[in-house]
């Protein structure tokens, strides 16, 4: 079965400093992996996805993630945090068999201070 583990429930950074949100996955096949962001009282917005093409995936708003099979990781990074990045981030893996179902991590809340 597929699963993801988000290693930090909260991450605090200062505006202008780098962001690192960590995610490890478990999958018996080559996974499809996603990062979604959710601002307070809003729906989920796709930041980026990996579907077995390039291992370095660039997303919206300056975010990127690198798929590392040897480490079973898919960490999300951004060089310089902005106040508007404060939100909940979900790492998600798609099931490999049958119809697509998304398996969500528990989420990481990113706090950005001035």
């Amino acid at each position: 079965a597929q699963s993801v583990t988000q290693l930090d429930s909260h991450v605090s950074v200062s505006e202008g400093t780098p962001v690192l949100l960590r995610c490890n996955y478990s999958s018996s096949y080559s996974p499809s992996l996603f990062w979604y962001v959710q601002h307070p009282n809003k729906g989920l917005q796709l930041l980026l996805k990996y579907t077995s093409a390039a291992t370095l995936v660039k997303g919206i708003n300056g975010f990127e993630a690198e798929f590392k099979k040897s480490e079973t990781s898919f960490h999300l990074t951004k060089p310089s945090a902005h106040m508007s990045d404060a939100a909940e981030y979900f790492c998600v893996v798609s099931t490999n068999t049958g119809f697509q179902k998304l398996v969500f991590g528990t989420g990481t809340r990113l706090l950005v201070s001035p």
Binding site: S32, G43, L44, F90, F99, L102
Partner: protein, 114 residues
């Protein structure tokens, strides 16, 4: 420009009083999903439609039902809401349900049960 639209954004109902939440999409996607998201938790899939085919998750309570009268619209009916049903309800769509597909989420409806 909106792709997945949910109405209303906020819904207040009384304990035991039926309520219907609405979702529409302009993407012409085959698949529509309903998720329940409780406070500080990840979204939980309730059910999905592939065209007119309804697929219920095994642990979705009987109190929750859904209708999809056409490609564009999907409804979530809660027959007798309990206090534990207070949550954000998210609608999502995907093209055909492949594991590489992106799910596009609406802004959600926040349900309060008094």
């Amino acid at each position: 420009d909106a792709m997945v639209i949910q109405n209303p954004r906020y819904q207040v109902t009384q304990f035991g009083k039926p309520v219907t939440l609405s979702c529409s999409q302009t993407l012409n996607h085959n698949v529509m999903y309903w998720y329940q998201q409780k406070s500080s938790q990840a979204p939980k899939l309730l059910f999905h439609y592939y065209d007119k085919d309804f697929n219920n998750e095994a642990d979705t309570p009987d109190n929750f039902q859904s209708r999809r009268p056409n490609t564009s619209f999907c409804f979530l009916d809660i027959r007798s809401p309990g206090l534990g049903d207070a949550a954000m309800y998210l609608c999502a769509t995907s093209r055909v349900g492949l594991r590489t597909d992106t799910q596009y989420f609406g802004p959600g409806t926040r349900l309060t049960v008094l």
